[in-house]
Amino acid sequence: MKCKTIEELLSPYLEDELNPEEKGTVAKHLKTCENCSLLFSLMKETQESLADIPELEVSENLLDRLYSIPRKKKRFKLRFPNFDFLVRPSLQPILTVATIMLIMISFYFYGPNKSSIDKSISRKIGLGYSKVGRLYAKAESFTASLGEHKDNILVSLKNIKLPGGNED
């Protein structure tokens, strides 16, 4: 077996994970190959050295730093899933308009000038009513005057000669 293949088996050989056949092959090779044998003993030394590296204690300074790490704040979430639709982006324009309306209404009800707003509104409504009343009266007088001159108008219309009409 080539040295390269044996190298791949050194760790499992060291940890006794090979089957008896492979184990025998590696052991036989190590007896005859000086390089692989040296590499194997150095691998053992390496493993021992690594296993001997002790654990360090954490410094007080680092512990203080770790204890002071703030927990990430939980994201805001509505508790009632039924109201989740309120935070949908598509509803935002509607909610904005509704908010503006509510603000205006609250200004009307709770503002200091409620009585003057009421007066101006009723004045505007009164003016509107009187304008409509006047227009209605005008329309009535026009209908009456039209009735008086009805016969004369019909006669005049009959006497009008339209161009291109039949003359009998």
Binding site: E7, L10, L38, L66
Partner: protein, 167 residues
């Protein structure tokens, strides 16, 4: 609390991986920050330690790729690791200490994935299955990476010994 239970594990993993004490402290803080922000995503069916170490492993490897620590030098082994062992044979003890220093520096020559696998297996002594879960890799890939890492470190140790013998 998370800090009490896991800070030592995460800090040691970061130090073994990065090789710089200062860097390891900053990395540990970043990992905990990431951990707190990811707690809501934790799947209760998973092993918590493995999940936490996966976060740490991903963060360390991402940072490694971004900043290329391999160009930086590691702290000297004795800067923070004190030798407490006493050897009957002082010469044998000196060789072992020298080996540790060489292997510690040699970790810098390993790629991020191999380095992480070696740290988890040979320094922290984790089972292959656990390493495969932490690294999200098939068991065979993990074993092959660990073998490659050990071979690389053994070759570094060999070169070091040869140079010492030449002197």
């Amino acid at each position: 609390m998370l800090v009490d239970s896991y800070s030592k594990r995460i800090f040691n993993m970061a130090y073994q991986f990065a090789g710089s004490y200062q860097e390891a402290e900053d990395l540990t803080q970043d990992i905990f920050l990431k951990l707190y922000n990811s707690l809501s995503k934790y799947d209760f069916k998973r092993n918590f330690s493995a999940w936490l170490l996966t976060i740490a492993r991903n963060y360390l490897i991402d940072q490694y790729r971004r900043t290329k620590w391999e160009k930086q030098t590691r702290d000297n082994f004795n800067d923070h690791y004190l030798t407490s062992e006493t050897f009957e044979n002082p010469e044998e003890g000196a060789v072992k200490e020298e080996n540790k220093r060489t292997v510690w520096q040699g970790i810098n020559n390993l790629t991020s994935e191999i380095r992480m696998a070696i740290i988890l297996r040979d320094i922290q002594g984790k089972q292959y299955e656990e390493i495969a879960e932490i690294m999200s890799l098939p068991l065979g890939t993990v074993k092959s990476r660990i073998n490659r890492g050990r071979l690389q470190l053994a070759k570094i140790l060999k070169e070091k010994k040869e140079r010492r013998n030449e002197m």
